[in-house]
């Protein structure tokens, strides 16, 4: 069987921050009643993580979960584990009203790294990137120039960006442009 390929096959750019397409990542959209104890319990049992608070994101190893809306979560797993995780969630939630669907191939992911990642994102997304307002443990669904995107920080000095796969090249070009040496702003440092 052929191996799946990510949108840009790991394209990379070394600007004043590093921009790397982060390859294939398992992503699962889960919709359900986040305030229902039965839901949170079944979720924890299947994934081993708590349902995050509003705009929260947490990881345990490769596995993670992000708050996407009051009735939607995004589950992160290794790409090859997505199918079985969908099945596991389906199984755990059983008759509860929910929707779980693999969206791993629908997305592209980029990792920015370097001391100035915050300001590079601030050039493209209308998000307050001040460390007191945004940092590890939080996720923001936002707009990156002309496309929808979501961002989170696995740790200080690193930002992950996800967007739809079809616009991966545009997203990469945007990030490259914003990270071009000579365009440093000098904020958040």
């Amino acid at each position: 069987m052929s191996s799946a390929v990510s949108a840009l096959s790991g394209a990379a750019y070394a600007g004043y921050v590093q921009v790397v397409e982060a390859g294939l990542n398992g992503m699962i959209t889960l919709r359900g009643d986040l305030s229902d104890a039965a839901f949170t319990k079944a979720f924890k049992a299947a994934i081993g993580l708590d349902v995050p608070d509003t705009r929260g994101i947490s990881f345990k190893g490769k596995k993670g979960v992000a708050w996407m809306s009051p009735d939607e979560l995004m589950v992160f797993v290794a790409y090859e584990d997505a199918t079985k995780t969908v099945a596991a969630l389906s199984e755990a939630l059983g008759e509860q009203h929910h929707l779980v669907v693999d969206v791993s191939d629908a997305r592209a992911m980029f990792t920015l790294s370097g001391s100035s990642v915050r300001e590079v994102v601030a050039k493209l997304c209308p998000v307050d990137m001040d460390p007191e307002q945004f940092g590890p443990g939080k996720i923001r669904r936002t707009r990156m120039a002309q496309i929808p995107a979501a961002i989170w920080m696995p740790k200080e000095g690193e930002i992950n960006v996800i967007c739809f796969r079809s616009v991966a090249q545009y997203a990469f070009d945007l990030l490259k442009d914003a990270a071009t040496p000579g365009s440093e702003v000098g904020l958040f440092s």
Binding site: M1, S2, S3, A4, V5, S6, A7, L24, T29, R31, G32, D71, H97, H98, L99, V101, D102, V103, S104, D105, A106, R107, E119, A122, K123, L124, C125, P126, V127, D128, D130, Q133, A145, Q146, I147, F164, R165, S166, V167, A168, Q169, Y170, D173, L174, D177, A178, T180, P181, G182, S183, E184, V185, L187
Partner: protein, 1004 residues
Amino acid sequence: MSTRLATGGRLLSKNRAIEFTFDGKRFKGFQGDTLASALLANDQMLVGRSFKYHRPRGIVASGPEEPNALVNMGEGADFEPNQRATTTELFDGLKARSQNHWPSLDFDVGAINAKLARFLPAGFYYKMFIHPRPLWKHVYEPFIRQSAGLGQAPKDRDQDTYEHLYAFYDVVIVGGGVAGLQAAQAAAKSGARVLVMEQSDHWGGRAPVDGGIVNGAPVDKLVDDLVDSLTNLNNVTLRLRMMGAGVYDHGYLLGYERLRDHDPQIGGPRHRLWRIRASQIITATGAIERPLSFAGNDIPGVMLASAVRDFIANWSVSVGDRVVVVTNNDDAYLTALWLHEQGLYVPVVLDARKAGGGVLADRARAAGIRVENGRAISKVKGGKRVTGVAICSQAGEGAVLEEIECDAVAMSGGWSPVVHLWSHCGGKLIWDDENTFFRPDVDKSPTGADGTSFVACAGTANGVMALGDVLADAEAAGRSAAEAAGFKPKRAGTFKADVPDYAPIVPVWVMPQGASHPLRSKAWLDFQNDVKVTDVQLAAREGFESVEHTKRYTTLGMATDQGKLSNINGLAILSDALNRPIPQTGTTTFRPPYTPISMGAIAGEARGDIFQPLRRTPLHDWHDENGVKWEPVGAWRRPYCYRKTPGEAVEDAVALEINQTRKALGLLDASTLGKLIVKGPDAGKFLDMLYTNMMSTLKPGRCRYGLMCSENGFLMDDGVVARLDEDTFLCHTTSGGADHIHAHMEDWLQCEWWDWKVYVANVTEQYGQIAVVGPKARETLKKLTKDDVSADALPFMGWKDLTLAGIPVRAYRISFSGELSYEIAVPAGLARALWDALLEAGEEFGVMPYGTEALHVMRAEKGFIMIGDETDGTVIPQDLGLHWAISKKKDDFLGKRAQERAYMKDPNRWQLVGLETTHGEVLPDGAYATADGHNENGQRNVQGRVTSSYHSPTLGRGIAMGLVLNGPDRMGELIDFPKLDGTVSKAKIVSPIFYDPDGEKQNV
């Protein structure tokens, strides 16, 4: 003549000489010069020609209020017109050209307009060019376009880059003078996040020039201390060369940062537009000095008094050896004293006030300067530069008492706080009689969503003039802004300033007060737009009572200038002419930007490759490498067709693709098709409401074509729905419909049927979708799978999960071409692998990828409608003969009620039919079928129109679909389609299904 002085120039580095050219002539300046100061240092008094009368104009001001010294900068790819010489920092190799003259600055043919001035009064264009009407388009407009505008439009693509930056602050301070810095200090003490922006390249504003002692030390020291202290605070961002361009609703503020205009050798973006959200905004934007309106006040060498001392203090430039000072307030005496201290000669200070000035006037007299109270300028003498002034009594009509030779005139008509940013978002003004200016009305400030104020002014911008008061006002503004932003304010400083006693200002709107018409018609109010005192008076006489109307009629205070110099003087003249006090006359609206910002900064990063997002399917690269001709479909690029050889005609490529698909095997990249998962116990009920036909009865494993209508009954989308299991459906939408149908579903679920148990997910991009089409489609699949794909196992309108070429896929047996067809959904990351496998497996059958045009032709041959071709937002399914897809059993669905309206049931609605031309030619798309007679507009009556039209290679003739009055009842009838070339095509009304009407081919 203007020249460089031997000493002084606090902003200059005299050890760093710079070369530049103006109108091709080489000049020398120094690091720290502006283009204006460098031109003056080289005695270049004449810098441009005026807008309307082409009068010689020189530099009037020293900052962004400069109306005359607008130049063309650079050339080729860095050319930019209308750059202000006073805010352009000099750099090595700068190339500037003066504007609005021909053939040269010195000798300008357009100056004839000045001789014709009495025939070019206010409103001239409106009066002259209105009749006769047809002349406008062919004569007047081209002529006006030719002569309008100051600078030239750039011809080459801008070579520079630009960017945006989103920033968030608690308190943003616009203006880095003493008030701005002190306000920042006060706000920052509370811990608030503070941004201070200053439009120039240095801190302190006017204070270091105008001087003063604060707490026992020169004000320069205070500026240095404040900048040091703020630099060390990590909650404060300080930016020079950044202008507050506009204030908008909800604390939105644009900061225009010029990163390398002062040195194009630096890399990186040229400008950065800061898109700021501020909890509170303080405008500490200072004040601008007003000109006086006397005859010849626009002759090069007549300058604002404050500018004259700026050029001396900042750039060590003398504007003339003999400078006459004319004023109605004490401030101009500072200029007289500055000139005197430099050893320059001030022949006289003309103080229009009968009672004269205060302490500063005494100082001037003590220095031996002649001071004349109650005197005025009757007219300035000179042409391309000042040669002298004729002096008269301010009280009289301008009879000349004495003539004095001089090189320059320094004028001061008082000061106007810069209230532009305050006013952008609705801040109101009040008239201050004592100081004769409009100041911000603190009780009517711009308010946010909660009704509380989000803009405050500080210092001179707030109408506070004395140094100590300015600092106290700024301190208070900073503290209260911090408090309004949710912080606990702390005191940052107390001030004791030594300020001389000023005598009161006396308003002088025309000089002399009884100036005759000839004098008034040479007294300029608005230098940039060439508006004189007499123009405003004429407007008043002609009935323009509203200041906004007068502004438009005369062009006073319009465009890039935004009335910085002219606003108050113009208003005063108007209110005098209307015999109405100034406050009742009101002001015009200040609009952003404060001064023009570059188009590049507005566009930001959106240019070149990233002008717009381009959506690519997982097969995009293959198409690109295989002769694709692209077609934009929304943001997607889809193959229109593939050229098998370079230079192959598009029609040939399309015909080949269709023939090969109908004969053997075609492949289509259908990845752009919308795919929405709809799941839940109420999913069937929900889809029954959204689609016109019944979806809840669909069996798992089966597919059904459905129509979606808006609430108003109009067809909005169509597609095949597959039932995946009892609770789950997959709805295919049109390529363009994926996002808005998703939103449409969420809208109904969230707003109307919030208690229904249904979730929707958009999985459009999760899958590549490949249509395998043609008589050889099944054989091809068989080669790649062990799964049973026979007609029994996977019948028409069924779906099945398969493993194809080792890849897990879902095959939908649906057909948009009329052929045996499978649409294969494959995870996007594997789509290319499957495509390659299908090409390989299909090779023996002559597999041929086809594009959207072949898709369109094949669907038209089958009479399948296309959303956007057969529909245009006014078409209902019944118009298209789709009654079969409208359920009679359902109680309700979206659009049902609307379709019951009389207009929708009207038998005279145009209906879908096929159209066959008598000679087999292709009808023009969108062509109208004419009917007898004419309508009330004298146009031919019509009875139908073409909605889709193609050449069918299958049938070897043109085929078309169209909506025709009573069409289905008129089979066989011929109707006329007049064409743009004057000929008429005759077409026969036929069934819209041209190919395989019984559907045998797709159902094998």
